[in-house]
Amino acid sequence: MTSDTRPLSLNVPEPGCRPGNTPDFSGFEIPRAGAVPRPPVDVDPDAIRDMAFSIVRVLNKDGEAVGDWAGALSTEELHEGLRHMLLLRTFDARMLNAQRQGKTSFYMQHLGEEAVSCAFSRALEPGDMNFPTYRQAGLLIASGYPMVTMMNQIYSNAEDPLHGRQLPIMYSSKEHGFFTISGNLGTQFVQSVGWAMASAISGDTRIAAGWIGDGSTAENDFHAAMVFASTYTAPVVLNIVNNQWAISTFQGIARGGVGTFAARGHGFGIASVRVDGNDYLAVHAVAKWACERARRGHGPTLIEHVTYRAGGHSTSDDPSAYRSRREAAAWPLGDPVERLKKHLIAIGEWSEERHAQAEAEVLDTVRAAQKEAEAIGTLSAGKVPSPRDMFEGVYETMPPHLIRQRQEAGF
């Protein structure tokens, strides 16, 4: 041992800001909108390593869409996109409230992250399959899944398609390309790769999209997904939603010493891109590019959506215990709804009045769905699934021991 060796000490990363501190994002580098060029979809991943350290952005401060990645969406599509985000935000607000009223046991919202799932959804084709986390309900809303069915699931009422078996918001819809959500973090990232491999094995043209949170990239399944996607050039888009927090744990604990989560892809030769997750146009453009890569056989893309979890982790969480109340407001990428609204106004296709009217319409829609769902039942009242349902579907055919148990239970 060299004689000048000093005692070692443990490095434990800390967030910039805890309750009581002043949020400071000045160290967070944000390239200007339009700065990152759009490479061809068959680009060699090695040639775009810098994209993992930059951020693809389309909307500038003035709400203009600029650069290579702009121009992919029609005005009608943008209107629809805004409506999807408003629907999701309103849905969240009402369901949060329903949980407080005891109509369900649990809820998780998307506040500040609406663009990610809503815009991504638009890049997929029917038949493609998402393997979402609990924070991508925008995939369902944007693909037209009935809101009342979502509520039935949340309320675990008699019309819940999952028969009350699952925790609220753990939706499943094969038809809408939305894989049954797991409560276990990370497990589905690698399943999305398997689904994509199956599509390739079958000579199909469908692709898969995996989803994972910043904190959950630390899970081992992340590695499995990257290894298999890389080895078999699977037609999959692997999405990391970096909303800066994993419950009370800031993203630095999962990220460690590397600059960005997107850079994780470099160890696997996977094309890796960072995108402004609060920019509907940027998310959509990058998603489209990545989906095309996958579908044309150029293999996987890793996308880091840079966004911010403006609300609590779930209804069980109070973030003021571990981060500054002012952090959300200081978040430099703004609010996705406001930014798309500003863009539409900037291009002369929207106004404050139309926005207010849209909000009102959206509220009516959500309210109507809620009324319909609550007329069926909630966790605390009304029509509920049968206890028999708990025994059904463990296997396709109920084996003798479960029949005996069901009888013992008296159902």
Partner: protein, 332 residues
């Protein structure tokens, strides 16, 4: 019970510098159930810290630390999330001592909230204890009250071998007998809610008789202890309720003594039935008390299905079902 667990950490950390505590959200925030609140502030970031969300890595690094000579006490946020760490626990923590002939050992405590009754659905309600009792080299503990929680956790931390420490989350804030419609009780008014100061341990491998009785022995642990007490009270069956507290090592003497006395036995657990720990208890009872048994032993357990969200109370083995079993075992 949360405060008792926090206290046990505090006592152990104060007494022994080698005790380190980590897990998801356990550092600054003090854990999603607040069982480690204040420890980071008191003992510093290198003795209590947040871990990346990687249960296998948490256990794997803890094994390395234990082999180094520290005593890690780690938290898995919910028992339902221990499976990614299963290989590290089964193939490594449980094996180090034996395969190296004690050249390396693994004094390690793995805590995890367990059980249902909080509408947590299938991934926040499981009771996987039997998956650990089958693995030689592990100890398995489940307290049912604050007093035991503190004493057993201190014993687990002092233990030279890896201990899986299950905390019934429905008991965190008060006793619970399965009557979910009754107002929530707090530990304040319960005698076992009173936790002695200091570093007294409750030894691993010793059961406690929670209710003495002559007619039937009820073997239970965790939340089910209160359910069994309620069922006995409500049916009037004179049941002896034994709180096993530690499943491995198991207090076979207490079990056999009681069953040989009563001649009848009901086993209660929240985990799914097939290959649950109840099967092992049943096997032991029939091996050791065969000639004393006057009726078939009955298991009252969770069903062999995932823990459902909406049908929580139809799944949960409540006092009604346990009461039925008590009556049946007396009739048989």
């Amino acid at each position: 019970m949360i405060e008792a667990i926090r206290e046990a950490h505090d006592v152990a950390m104060a007494a022994d510098e080698r005790v380190v505590v980590f897990g998801e959200d356990v550092g600054f925030f003090g854990g999603v159930f607040r069982c480690t609140a204040g420890l980071q502030e008191k003992y510093g970031k290198s003795r209590c810290f947040d871990a990346p969300i990687n249960e296998s890595g948490i256990v794997g690094t803890a094994i390395g630390m234990a082999a180094y000579g520290l005593k890690p006490v780690i938290e898995i946020q919910f028992a339902d999330y221990v499976y990614p760490a299963y290989d590290q626990i089964v193939s490594e923590a449980a094996r180090l001592r034996h395969r190296s002939n004690a050249d390396f050992t693994c004094p390690l405590v793995i805590r995890m909230p367990t059980g249902g009754g909080i509408f947590g659905g299938q991934t926040h309600s499981q009771s996987p204890e039997a998956l650990f009792t089958h693995v030689s080299g592990l100890k398995v503990v489940m307290p049912s009250n604050p007093r035991d929680a503190k004493g057993l956790l201190l014993a687990a931390i002092a233990d030279p071998d890896p201990v899986i420490f299950f905390e019934p989350k429905r008991l965190y804030n008060g006793p619970f007998d399965g009557h979910h419609d009754k107002p929530v009780e707090s530990w304040k008014s319960h005698p076992l809610g009173e936790v002695p100061d200091g570093d007294g341990i409750v030894p691993l491998g010793k059961a406690a008789v929670r209710r003495a009785g002559a007619e039937v022995t009820v073997l239970a642990y965790g939340t089910m202890v209160f359910v069994a007490e309620a069922a006995a009270a409500e049916t009037g069956v004179d049941a002896e309720v034994i709180d096993l507290r530690s499943l491995m090592p198991l207090d076979l003497e207490a079990i056999v003594g009681s069953v040989q006395k009563t001649g009848r036995c009901v086993i209660v657990h929240e985990a799914t039935r097939t290959s649950g720990f109840g099967a092992e208890l049943m096997a032991l009872v029939q091996e050791h008390c065969f000639y004393h048994l006057e009726a078939p032993v009955i298991r009252v357990t969770g069903w062999d299905t995932p823990y459902p969200h909406a049908q929580e109370w139809e799944y949960f083995p409540g006092p009604g079902r346990v009461g039925e079993a008590l009556k049946k075992v007396m009739e048989d």
